[in-house]
Structures are given as structure tokens and as C-alpha cells.
Symmetry: C2
Subunit: 323 residues, 2 copies
């Protein structure tokens, strides 16, 4: 049976935490990342299909700083538009470097990144009161936080660290992805044998207004949860989440800490419900894996980017399977 | 016979010259633009196909200003990366607004913008000496021009106006587009009935280095000439260039000035060779039309965005046909 693989790339695949984010750095990281992906493609059969998604946190952060600093001279754009820009930027870098690797390997597989909107529900709890959960942009002092609130009365600004001078941050809704607006196009591309890069940064968040029009909204969709929706669209049977750790862990930071190898869906679900995985970090990754398996997926893997091929072969990472 | 139409949108389709370029403004312009396009789609037969391309000059300009002002805090990206960002931004705006119009018209036609690289020749004359011909960014004073040159020894800075305080500008190569790197993907999408938005801003300019790798280059490709390459890929028989004037003119600004209606390929070629059309303005549009007809196209139209449907029907614009 043909395999359909969805790869979700974490932030470290494009920008390392200690880097400023120059184009050279990001191209270098993308080059390493897509080398791993090209090795997976080399191991695929002709009928197998591959789809890629990626995060965009640091890139959105950098663009927001640039937009902010130029305000008054050039208008700043809202988060949906900035998100679209990062789909262009990161899509380009991944598309170009992956194509170069495939060319070296003499593999004639077309690659293409698309601009991609993801629908969210305007009644999602994250849009109400101060339920918004995704911190974005710089850490602020209390004074800066007050100033920002004064200039942007709609903003939700939260204290995200208990102590220190800079412990405030703007926080935006992180609604659940409902569906992918370009699902039909993605399906056509995958069926035609194209390696598609889609749903970048969790997709551009849009909602349906009263007149039935889709329109962007200031929010951030979790890229692994959006990736899971993408996996459903293309009928993926393998969901490979690549990040900066080799395995998910239970009892993290405690004496009984344990890295997870091959586990069942039930075990993963139990650990998730017991709260072993951090919100905003391993939590959504495991949640996305569980959803994927519930929706008919066969194997979900959380693994280190550096061991992508081993993980794909079943020799590394946390591997969750449904019986 | 099924028609394949390629529409090339000018700058005014997304940002008016007197606007600052807020998201609201650009969405409003895109809404008007895609309304015209949706009316054309309504007039198509089921087998007809449509491809869209667009400029990105003002958007690249704004992003470059933002990147420049934030330098030292966040790294600025080169022009190929900035171009990719604008493909994301503009692709998103056109894709969303066109989809909303089609939804209202109950037309179930998928729409998708892609990230798109266009190959140029490293031996293109525009890359040598001071042959670069495309001014980008702000007008500078002589002092600012000198300062920029000091900080960026590779830059070519030219005097672009004979008089006045600010008459200098950075000038980058505008090489001829050779081929579209995502041609195969675009062809597949068009064949599958998707309205594709591609080659945005003339495409992200890339060249092939000595090792055979594609890599970006600081340049700007003319969007109409790149659009013509796109038209070749998809076998377009109609090439519709939408701009801010109703017709191309000969003897522009002279007593014998004359707007052109229906003309033959030979007439257009003669006018072009006689130098009736301005470089950087109507010149490349007419050049793209001539190339299109030489390469097997049937009908090339230069028309006003506001009269897109009339022009498509043959009732407005300068219409060039080969016998």
C-alpha cells in the first residue's frame, strides 16, 4: 500500500534559538533540514506521497519588530498578513533547498509551497475574555506593557513570567483549526505527485463573517494541530513531527523522568490526560498525534530533526501506534 | 476550443499610488480587482482555464523600508527573500478576495497562490557594469546616495532625475526571465481546473550556480515578461495585461498622440521598434505581448483594470492579434 507521509517541522528546522535570523542562517538551516527530507524521499516508493508543514514563530516575531519600528513611515500589517509573508519566505527557502538536494540525487520530484488559509471558529473559547493563550513578540516591562495597551486597547497583554523586569507579553488567541481552505488544491497536488509545503505557521487564520466571507484574524494556530488537519486531507498514514528533542518524556524534570520509545495510542492518551506534556511545547504535539490516530492515521512519530530518517524507519523517536 | 487566459495585474490592482499601503487599503483594492476577475470567470466555459500574475513593486518597497529601519535589531533580508514575502502577502489577499467573490456567485472554482521562482541567466547583460536598469526604494539626496554606497559597496546607485534635491536611487538588475522553476506544478494545477496565482512580482529571481544549485539573486524581473513565460507554460491563447490606462498610445505627449484599438502584430512590432512605448512602463508590456504572439499566443490585450470584462470580450483596450 502506498504511504502518505506528513512531516511537521519545528522552529529549529529554519532558525536556531541563538541565531538572529539572517537569510544566510535560515538558508543554511533549511539546507540541513531538507537534506534529511531528501533522504526520506530517496527511501520512498514511486507511489508514496509526502507533504510538509512548518512553524513560523521566530519569523513572525522578526517581521513584527520590523513593522513596529517603521510605523509612522510605512503601515504595519496585522498578524494574518504577516503570517502570509512568512509562508512566502519560509516556503521559498524550503522549496529551493529541497529542490537542490533532489537535483543532486537525480530525483525528479516537483516541490511547491502554497499560500494557505486555515478556518477557525469565531466562537472558539480562545477569542473570549482573556482566554487567549499564545504569547507573541518581545518580553515587555510593566511600563511598556501599559503603553502598548494604551495604544492598542484591543490587545491582551499578560504577565507570562512571575519575576524579573521583563515579564509581560502580548498574547493572542490560538484557536483550534477546523478545516483547511485550500484542501482541494492540496489534494490535487499530492495526487499528482507533488511534494507540497502547506499550512505554514499553522496556516493563515481566517474566520467566516456574517456575510459568508472569509477574512483574516489576529491569531496563531498551532502548527502541529493544523498539520494534523492537513494529514486528514491527504489521507496520511504516517505523521512525523520533527523537533529539537529525540523523544517525548514523562515525569519531565523529575527523578522518575523517562523518555518514551514505542508506545500505544492508549498509553499516549493516558500520559496526555495525566498532564505529562507541557502546554505550548510537547502538549500540542502529543495532542496532534492522538487526533491523527483517532482520525484513521497509522503511526505518529515525535523525533529529532537530526534523526529524521531513522525515525521514519522506526529506529528513533517516540512512536505511537494504534492497535 | 477551450480558452486559457493569463491575466497580469499591474501595481494599481493592489495598491493605489496615493495610498500608504495599509492592509485595509490593499484588501479593498484586491476586492475590487478580483470582482472584475470573478466576472470574467463567470463568463468562461467549464473547460476554460485562468492563471493570474501580479506586480509587487510598492510592497517590496514598503518591506525594504521596514527592514532597513530595523537593521541592527533584526537582520534585513535580500531582495529575493523580500520578493518571496510579497508573494505570500499579495497571493493571500488575491486568493481570499477572489474566493469570496466566487462563493457569492456560487462558482466552485478552487484558487491558489504558489511560491514561485523564475530562472535568469547569470550572463544577462543587466548583471554587468552599470547596466542594471530597475530603480528600487526611495529617492535619495546626493549625500544619502554616497552614504548608501559607502555602506554597501556592491550597490549601483544612479541619478534617475536630472534636477531636484532627491534624484538618486538604488538600481538593481532586471534580467530577462528564462524559465519558470515551478512550471510542472503550475501546469498540473491548471490542468486540474485550479485558478493559479503564480510568478508574483515577476517571480523570485534565481540563477544556477557552478554546482548546479538554484539560488536567489538581488534583482527584479519584469512581471509582464515573466507573465509571458507563464503564458507559454500553460499554453495560454489570451494574454490580458490590466493596468491603469485604457489603451497603449503612439506619439505619447505629442500633438499626433493616438490611442491604439485593434492592431495587428506587425503594426505593434513596428510601433515598438520605432520607440513609441516607454521603457519601464508601456514598453515591457508591448514587448511581452509581441513575445506572446510570436510564441503561439492568439490575442494579447492591454487594458484598464476597470474595463477588464469589456476588454476580455474585445470591446475595450489595445488588442493585438496575429493574422
Amino acid at each position: 500500500m502506498a504511504r502518505v507521509i506528513l512531516i511537521a517541522l519545528g522552529g529549529n528546522a529554519i532558525k536556531q534559538a541563538d541565531e538572529k535570523g539572517t537569510s544566510e542562517e535560515q538558508f543554511r538551516n533549511c539546507w540541513k533540514t531538507t537534506k534529511h527530507i531528501s533522504e526520506i524521499i530517496k527511501n520512498l516508493d514511486k507511489e508514496d506521497r509526502l507533504v510538509i508543514t512548518h512553524g513560523n514563530g521566530p519569523q513572525v516575531g522578526n517581521l513584527m519588530v520590523q513593522q513596529k519600528l517603521a510605523e509612522g513611515i510605512v503601515p504595519a500589517h496585522p498578524m494574518d498578513v504577516v503570517g502570509a509573508m512568512t509562508q512566502g519566505q519560509i516556503g521559498y527557502m524550503l522549496q529551493q533547498t529541497l529542490r537542490n538536494h533532489l537535483k543532486k540525487l537525480d530525483l525528479n520530484v516537483p516541490v511547491c509551497a502554497i499560500v494557505n488559509q486555515v478556518l477557525v471558529d469565531k466562537n472558539d473559547p480562545e477569542f473570549f475574555g482573556d482566554k487567549a493563550s499564545k504569547p507573541v513578540g518581545n518580553f515587555l516591562t510593566e511600563e511598556e506593557a501599559k503603553e502598548m495597551k494604551k495604544n492598542n486597547p484591543d490587545y491582551i497583554i499578560k504577565k507570562v513570567k512571575p519575576n524579573g523586569e521583563r515579564c509581560w507579553r502580548r498574547t493572542v488567541p490560538s484557536p483550534d483549526p477546523i478545516s483547511n481552505l485550500e484542501a482541494e488544491v492540496i489534494k490535487k497536488l499530492v495526487d499528482a505527485g507533488v511534494v507540497v509545503i502547506a499550512s505554514g505557521g499553522g496556516g493563515i487564520p481566517v474566520l467566516e463573517d456574517e456575510e459568508g466571507n472569509y477574512q483574516g484574524i489576529e491569531a496563531v494556530i498551532d502548527k502541529d494541530l493544523a498539520g494534523e488537519r492537513l494529514a486528514e486531507i491527504v489521507g496520511a498514514n504516517i505523521f512525523l513531527i520533527l523537533t529539537d528533542v529525540e523523544k517525548a518524556k514523562i515525569n519531565y524534570g523529575h527523578p522518575k523522568e523517562k523518555a518514551l520509545g514505542k508506545i500505544t495510542f492508549e498509553e499516549a492518551k493516558q500520559y496526555f490526560e495525566e498532564g505529562h506534556f507541557l502546554a505550548g511545547s510537547m502538549g500540542p504535539k502529543v495532542k496532534a498525534c492522538l487526533r491523527f490516530l483517532e482520525n484513521g492515521g497509522k503511526r505518529a512519530i515525535i523525533a529529532s530533526l537530526d534523526k529524521a530518517l531513522e525515525a521514519f524507519k522506526g529506529d528513533s523517536g517516540t512512536i505511537i501506534e494504534k492497535d
